[in-house]
């Protein structure tokens, strides 16, 4: 793909800033333990099981907040997701570690996710198309997959 600018790594937002923006505060902290069946779904969504088995999340009313990581090209992208009533309310890239492809942190990209939910057929797909960024294919795919996983996790803690 074509260009993205070099020198795009950086810490863009702390977790507490993300929670303040997304939940209006820290919300109620909780943890969710991934079962073997959850990891099987993670493999379908991410192509691999999620690292670790215990995930921290935050809750406020119908909203849940998740901070997840997935490898872009060679390094993990730390991304925060706010899910509200089964739909993506907000996506923010907290840390981007690659030298190229950092456009995925910009709101012109992340706002595409707002309102997306999990489709039913096929399962665990996003209900809307997310257009990519030229030169950032792997980073875009990482965020697409993480958003699906965040929606799945939200549905699990609300069961």
């Amino acid at each position: 793909m074509s260009h993205a600018a070099f020198g795009q790594a950086g810490n863009y937002m702390s977790t507490s800033e993300f929670l303040r923006e997304g939940l209006g505060g820290a919300g109620a902290a909780g943890s969710f333990t991934l079962s073997s069946s959850d990891q099987a779904i993670a493999k379908k969504i991410l192509g691999h099981s999620y690292k670790g088995s215990r995930l921290r999340y935050w809750r406020s009313g119908k909203k849940t907040a998740w901070v997840l990581e997935e490898i872009g090209k060679t390094r993990p992208i730390t991304t925060g997701f706010i899910i509200d009533s089964g739909k993506i309310h907000m996506v923010r890239v907290l840390i981007y570690r690659e030298s190229h492809g950092g456009e995925v942190k910009n709101k012109f990209f992340t706002r595409q996710f707002d309102g997306a939910k999990l489709g039913s057929s096929p399962r665990y797909t996003l209900s809307r198309r997310i257009h990519g960024i030229s030169g950032a294919t792997l980073s875009v795919n990482a965020l697409r997959n993480l958003s699906r996983f965040a929606l799945y996790l939200d549905s699990r803690v609300k069961e």
Binding site: S2, A5, T15, L19, E103, F108, H131, S134
Partner: protein, 425 residues
């Protein structure tokens, strides 16, 4: 365990006891059996009435206790959440998100990442050949939050050495500094930021087994130089890059005279008497649409090969669109070289473009994409129209299988079929 308040039951119990005592009183001789039976009937009725009252009282007590328990639990939950909430926010202040290890607590290996890509090609035509064209490793290291090292080392054609087809090349090795506010600087050896393929050439990212001719002859990918650069990116998707770096040193005689691709020095004891300056502008503010342009000037691209000064301007523009299943890539590049010799050879202007529409969709086994490409090239090595059609199949987003047909239309047409397998990680 549920309990019943004794106070609430006291009147009913007293009544029962009184009746029981009364029942033990000796029966008057004057009482007839009928009177005794009537008295016993009254007592039974009274007992049933008291039992009903007792049951009702117990139910009320149970309900009251359940409500009290629920209220207590609710208060405890709210209190716990409030404490957790306060703690989580407090804990998060000044700490790193999950996965981020404080520098002081980690080894260098946590800051070093490994990646790579590779591709093998099979060509069928007049010259049938199989070649593991590229085996590449990326090794990057993060010194701290704002200084990192990026490198790429490549083995071409699988074997290197005297008399061998291949070579080992260091294609990137630079240090990059984030200066804040979207500004970054780098120094070392880096890919010249022009066109599409030169910076992004991992096999799963492009159509066609071989790279297109425009970005081989006009933009001599892979093209790297040594120097310094600054980059500014804006939140609206606009990015500017200005680099000052080593330049070309093209041959001026022989079969490759003024061939751009032959002028790459690869930063190997390279002549540095005439530097080049490259400006690149990119806009990615609309998801799925990338557009960009570059310009480069070098005061003499025949630094050591000719006494004649051959200043050169290079300009290019490109577009890379992927909206839905449809894709479109196009690049136009042009060299304008001054001096009598290139003019005499008809190589003062070398230019070309390609247009590449594609259609990609998901199958049960992976993504499948079809493409067609028309290239028009006027360069030292080729002056022709080139047509490609083919497909890419991605069983995984980082693995690709390719098949395509290429026809080069010139005085003597040439055509061949390519098959390729590529990966990146």
């Amino acid at each position: 365990m549920k309990s019943v308040s004794f106070g609430r039951l006291r009147p009913g119990l007293f009544g029962l006891v009184a009746l029981f005592i009364a029942s033990l009183t000796p029966v008057s001789e004057a009482q007839t059996n009928a009177e005794i039976l009537a008295e016993m009937g009254k007592m039974k009725a009274r007992i049933a009435e008291l039992e009903a009252k007792l049951a009702a009282t117990q139910q009320t007590a149970n309900e009251a206790e359940e409500k009290a328990t629920a209220a207590t639990e609710a208060v405890q939950t709210v209190a716990t959440e409030a404490i957790q909430s306060a703690k989580s926010l407090e804990d998060l202040e000044g700490t790193l998100p999950p996965g981020e290890i404080p520098l002081a607590e980690e080894g260098w290996w946590n800051r070093t990442s490994l990646g790579g890509y590779g591709e093998m090609h099979l060509t069928l035509g007049d010259d049938e050949q199989i070649d593991f064209h590229r085996y590449v490793l990326f090794i990057n290291h993060q010194f701290n939050d704002f200084i990192r090292f990026v490198s790429e080392i490549e083995l071409e054609h699988s074997i290197a050495g005297d008399g061998k087809n291949g070579e080992i090349e260091l294609e990137q090795a630079y240090v990059e500094l984030d200066l804040g506010n979207g500004l970054a600087a780098r120094g070392g050896m880096f890919l010249v930021p022009v066109g599409i393929i030169n910076e992004y050439h991992e096999p799963p990212t492009f159509f066609g087994t071989e790279r297109n001719f425009i970005e081989r002859e006009i933009i001599p990918s892979t093209w790297w130089e040594g120097g310094v650069g600054v980059n500014k990116r804006f939140d609206n998707g606009l990015a500017l890059d200005l680099s000052v770096h080593s330049g070309l040193d093209v041959p001026t005689s022989g079969s490759n005279a003024y061939r751009i691709r032959s002028g790459r020095q690869k930063v190997s004891e390279a002549s540095a008497s005439d530097w080049a300056t490259t400006l690149n502008v990119e806009y990615n503010g609309i998801p799925g649409i990338g557009v960009g342009a570059s310009a480069q000037y070098q005061s003499d691209i025949s630094q050591t090969t000719s006494s004649e000064s051959n200043s050169a301007w290079f300009t290019e523009a490109h577009v890379d669109i992927q909206r839905g299943n449809w894709g479109l890539r196009s690049v136009y590049g042009r060299w304008d070289i001054s001096g009598a010799s290139p003019a005499l050879l008809g190589l003062a202007t070398q230019h070309g473009f390609y247009v590449e529409p594609s259609y990609t969709f998901t199958t049960g086994l992976g993504d499948l994409g079809f493409f067609a490409r028309w290239s028009k090239l006027d360069s030292e090595s080729l002056d022709s129209d080139i047509y490609d059609v083919g497909l890419n199949f991605w069983p995984h987003e980082r693995v690709v299988l390719k098949a395509d047909y290429t026809k080069i239309q010139e005085a003597e047409d040439d055509d061949f079929i390519n098959f390729g397998i590529g990966y990146q990680f």
